[in-house]
Amino acid sequence: MDSLHAIGFYASSGVSVIGGLGVALLAGRGRRGAALAVSGIGLAGIYVSLGAGFAALVALVCYLGCAALVAGPRYRAIEATVGAAWRQLGAVAAGVLLALLAFAAFRGSFAQAKAFTETFGASDVGQLLFARDAFATEAVAILVLVSLVGGTALWRARERSR
């Protein structure tokens, strides 16, 4: 990776992580949505600096959609019944998870190889999903269909019981 891509990678990483922390800490839907959009823009920058332009485009569109959903007025707040002590314990667990993952990455001694720079587009995704990974794609589709039908059936049964 040359210096220009490395600078882009580090800058995009900072933007993405800061946006992620903003999603966790900022108050208000609009601010959280804006922070998620910033995180998505940073993520797209990371993908571009790693040579994954098509994935960057898809991620940008998807995360801007996520930001619009989070900032939108179409849902209501549901207050959790979990106490503050459990939330603080969960936050400490998230910090421990970060430390464990960073330690695993540092001690992993992963193999280095020369950079891969082929183009990747929608046709490549189609070929991978419907040619090489056709059986796995169908298995995942069946699992999703069964889970959606099961969820709908459970919801209808609960609605009738009310």
Partner: protein, 91 residues
Amino acid sequence: MSASLVTVFFVAAGLLAAGVFTAVWRRDLAAALAGIPLIFAGAGVAFVGVARFAAAGGPHLFGQEFAVLLAIASVALLALGLGIAGREGAR
């Protein structure tokens, strides 16, 4: 200046931990759902990093393919969760 696979994994770990922190820290369950895209973003960065640096001789495009699927799945899961939250919150 250069970036290696270990650096990519550090960034992926940061994004994933930020998503987990969001999911456990927000008191509002609907707002906690916003951690899902961050968790998936961390996983996607790790996949793309492996596809970029460490997949020589292997299926190069799998990492990018999976990153695309993770981005689409994140917006779908968030829409589903917020839809359910809107319905339950209206009761």
